[in-house]
Amino acid sequence: MNAAPQSARRIASANNAFFVDTVCFSCRNRLSQQSRRHAATAAAVSDPPPATSPQASSRAAAPIIAKGPRKAYRLMAAPVLSRPPLLTRDLNSFEKAFYLYQKRLNERLAMPFSRYFYYNKGTPADPEWKRKLQARKTPSRDIGIYDAYGNEGWNDEVLVGDRTGERESVVEALIRDAEGKSIVEESEKDQGAVTAGDAQLGEGQRRETTKIEVERPSSRETEADRSGDVKSLNRKLDRTLYLLVKNHEGRWRFPEDRVYGRENLHQAAERILIQSCGINMNTWLVGNHPIGHHAHHYPSQKPIVSKISANALVGTSKESEKEEFGEKLFFMKARIMAGQPDLGSNAYGLQEWAWLAKEEVDGRVGRSYWASVKNMLVER
């Protein structure tokens, strides 16, 4: 078929931007060598047309035969098991200031709150609402004390160091409001002035009958954070955690093994996860494509003859011997939903495991391994 070599040679011309972007370096070299070789033979046979014209060289050339790899490498797979973040990240100071300002601005831009739609006159909720509103001058609870329509409506910016826009103070204000207290602590003196309505009828007075205690949400920093427990999945809830294991040589890596028989990378990664970490984990292997790779060439170009034994879990694997020049390891993305690794009966002699964030992985793995791995790990 003449179409394939023709298009290949068209792509192979060195000034083609598509060629440079999509074809790898070694293939590019091979293709350009072949095209130069064919152009040279065409020149030797007939009057030489210019080497860059694909049509001329294709007429006299033989079709390009793709050659297999000249060197065999050990094919390995490694599941990169990750727990995605469970909490959203903290806001930086600019975002907090921006959101607070936008909420205060909204007071002046949105329609006023239609209070009698929600709190009917004569119901107990009505004076409750009135009392709380008096204290903070605005229906919202997360913007501090701000009256958009009063004389001080122009004063919508807070001073430096003000804690009104912080997430913790917003949540605290909401919970205090649910408990029936005003959003900020008031001094005894002000409380007298705040009461509204007829004092004789008891309107506006807060009777201390029952104290409502609303449970505060737990802190974003957990016990595992404080103690630095790397085996816990509750640590660093706003970051992605990756499972690293310490192999029999003492190196920290993702759990890895050879790909046996006719299994594909997805199947190999699932098997490796079970063989190394046990079955008590609810995991999900995402997709059939690897997310990264790591190539290790054995030193001094000498191949190692490795004896490959059949793996019990892979039906199509056979005993064989192969001369290998190095290792090519492909990483497969996986997610954990529940469970923990159990290295009790692992088949690879793994000693230890840990759940680590990206910078902690950097601290534990080797330099060339980190160079292959760092771009596939998530910052957050």
């Binding site: 917003v170 649910a178 949400p217």
Partner: protein
């Protein structure tokens, strides 16, 4: 030079001129919104913007206490405990027509000839339901009409 608004426009030609006439926009009337703290059934919280004036919303049924979203949870499994044998006695007397729908599915699986092997466990929930419905139809155990739609894989028991 004609201003851009008065330049003649050719409708047949592919090039189109921008039309930048000023137009009157009504001021949008947006309702007043609050920040609310939502508490899910497992205690996790988050804030969101809403028109509701309630400061806290406590959700009783959500993804955190749903069996579909927590397949590994033992607490949410729908396991029947027949401690005194009373349920078995009831069924002996009155049949299975009063069973909850979930129980009916479970029983069909138990009575069906096929064993649930590893491959079947990976199937989606809907495939499982469809599979059981078809199996029951074949063996003639499911009384009543069964739709062809996948949703009604549950047999209708003894009820008519």
């Amino acid at each position: 030079m004609l201003p851009s608004t008065l330049r003649p426009q050719c409708h047949a030609c592919a090039l189109r001129q921008q039309i930048r006439h000023a137009s009157l926009l009504r001021r949008p009337k947006r309702p007043y919104s609050f920040t609310q703290l939502i508490t899910l059934s497992d205690g996790s919280t988050f804030t969101h913007r809403t028109t509701s004036p309630q400061p806290i919303y406590r959700s009783t049924k959500d993804t955190k206490n749903s069996a579909l979203w927590n397949p590994s949870s033992q607490k949410l499994l729908n396991i029947e405990e027949d401690e005194a044998g009373r349920l078995k006695r009831f069924r002996r007397r009155f049949g299975r027509g009063f069973d909850a729908e979930a129980m009916e599915q479970g029983e069909e699986a138990g009575e069906g000839a096929e064993t649930v092997d590893q491959a079947q466990q990976d199937e989606s929930l809907l495939d499982l339901i469809a599979g059981y419905g078809q199996a029951a139809e074949k063996t003639g155990e499911a009384a009543g009409v069964q739709d062809e739609a996948k949703k009604s894989g549950k047999g209708k028991g003894g009820q008519k």
